[in-house]
């Protein structure tokens, strides 16, 4: 059990596409570390493995940690998720541990159906809506190297400097952020540019 440092943009690792989990290796320790890391961050309702430098398609979701919203499923470990169906569109302002100084208005589907595997490699299917759907979609984006800034249409009206969440340098919270933890090398920076074409996909997806 360990609390992993959460990577903060511009760490190039956050822009990489994560690999599918093939269940050939034991994931118990990795999943436990991700759970510990999420529970260490106050108010955190979701964490994607790549936010901790683990390039695997694993999400930890627990919408029930937000007392103000309804959560259908509570704590979930979601592996290799695929959005099968989505409908509706809701605008809300999101914040992210990996972008501690910013919040942005992001449109997400109101309701989604997601297929995935649980840690026991069993096929699962869930239907989530509203806040819980937003959490899943936000974290799922991390698996493809997409940050909420890729989903923003207008910097003027959509992006806001976060006021009351993190200290200005973004590095003040122990166990939450450690900028510069993984040093960007040239190769990583080059690769980091590949998922940049994703924002176009957002429009297509939200229309479907």
């Amino acid at each position: 059990m360990a609390i992993l440092p959460v990577l903060v943009y511009p760490d190039p690792e956050l822009k990489r596409v994560s690999d599918p989990v093939d269940f050939k290796e034991d994931l118990t320790a990795t999943i436990q570390d991700l759970l510990d890391t999420m529970h260490d961050a106050p108010g955190c309702v979701g964490l994607a493995a790549p936010q901790c430098g683990v390039r695997k398609r694993i999400l930890i979701i627990d919408a029930s940690r937000n007392p103000k919203v309804e959560s259908k499923y509570g704590l979930m470990v979601i592996i290799n998720p695929i959005v099968e169906y989505s409908e509706g569109e809701v605008l809300a302002r999101e914040g992210c541990l990996s972008l501690p100084d910013l919040t942005a208005n992001v449109k997400r589907a109101q309701k989604i159906r997601v297929k995935f595997q649980n840690p026991q490699n069993q096929e699962q299917e869930i239907e989530v809506s509203d806040f819980e759907a937003r959490v899943v979609l936000h974290e799922l984006d991390h698996l493809d190297g997409i940050l909420f800034l890729d989903r923003v249409a207008s910097l003027k009206t959509d992006v806001f400097r976060r006021k009351r969440y993190a200290p200005k340098d973004g590095a003040g919270k122990p166990g939450e952020v450690k900028p510069g933890e993984s040093k960007p090398d040239e190769l990583k920076l080059k690769d980091a540019k590949t998922p940049d074409s994703k924002p176009g996909e957002a429009a297509v997806r939200s229309e479907s």
């Binding site: 108010g43 302002r93 009206t157 006021k163």
Partner: protein, 180 residues
């Protein structure tokens, strides 16, 4: 000590204004901070904040920009900013997006924003548009922050009252803030 400045400028729109203006500032050693630049019909408007290098004075920058004005086709105004004016206020409040639209007539902006002011609601962004058809439509989208003491129904009530007086339609979207 670097000096912080704010620059405003409006000029006839053409391709290359942003590239040329930012090149002038870059060559002068300025580091850009926040900015907002937008096209209003045929006029391109710029508001930008920058840090001036220690090696140059505001007067020198003004001289440099005066030389560039003709080529840019833009009138540029620069003034110094205090450190305090670079800080953002803590807006401990609730965000809303408000759309207002209706047949054009004078007083829509004044009426709606007066109602917001009365409720101590701060406008963080506003844009308006008037169509050029025979029956002009006026449209305004506001991004506001309301004090937590103001409820959504109070806001609705107040705006419904003014919009009825003005003969315009108003819709309010409350923005949920989600920490992920």
């Amino acid at each position: 000590m670097t000096t912080n400045i704010v620059l405003t400028g409006v000029g006839r729109d053409r391709v290359g204004i942003v590239a040329e203006l930012s090149q002038v500032l870059f060559e002068f050693g300025c580091n850009l901070l926040d900015s907002s630049m937008t096209l209003l019909r045929g006029e391109f408007a710029v508001i930008l904040m920058a840090q001036l290098p220690e090696t140059h004075t505001l007067i020198q920058l003004r001289e440099r920009l005066n030389q560039a004005e003709a080529a840019l086709g833009m009138q540029v105004f620069v003034r110094e900013l205090s450190d305090a004016s670079l800080d953002e206020d803590d807006d401990e409040g609730h965000p809303y997006i408000i759309s207002v639209y209706g047949g054009d007539r004078p007083g829509i902006v004044a009426g709606i924003t007066k109602a917001l002011q009365t409720l101590s609601i701060n406008i963080t962004d506003v844009a308006t548009k008037r169509t050029r058809s025979e029956q002009s439509i006026f449209m305004m989208v506001l991004e506001v922050t309301a004090p937590i003491t103001i409820t959504e129904s109070e806001l609705r009530q107040s705006l419904n009252k003014v919009s009825a007086q003005l003969g315009v339609d108003v819709s309010i979207q409350s923005l949920e803030v989600v920490e992920l």
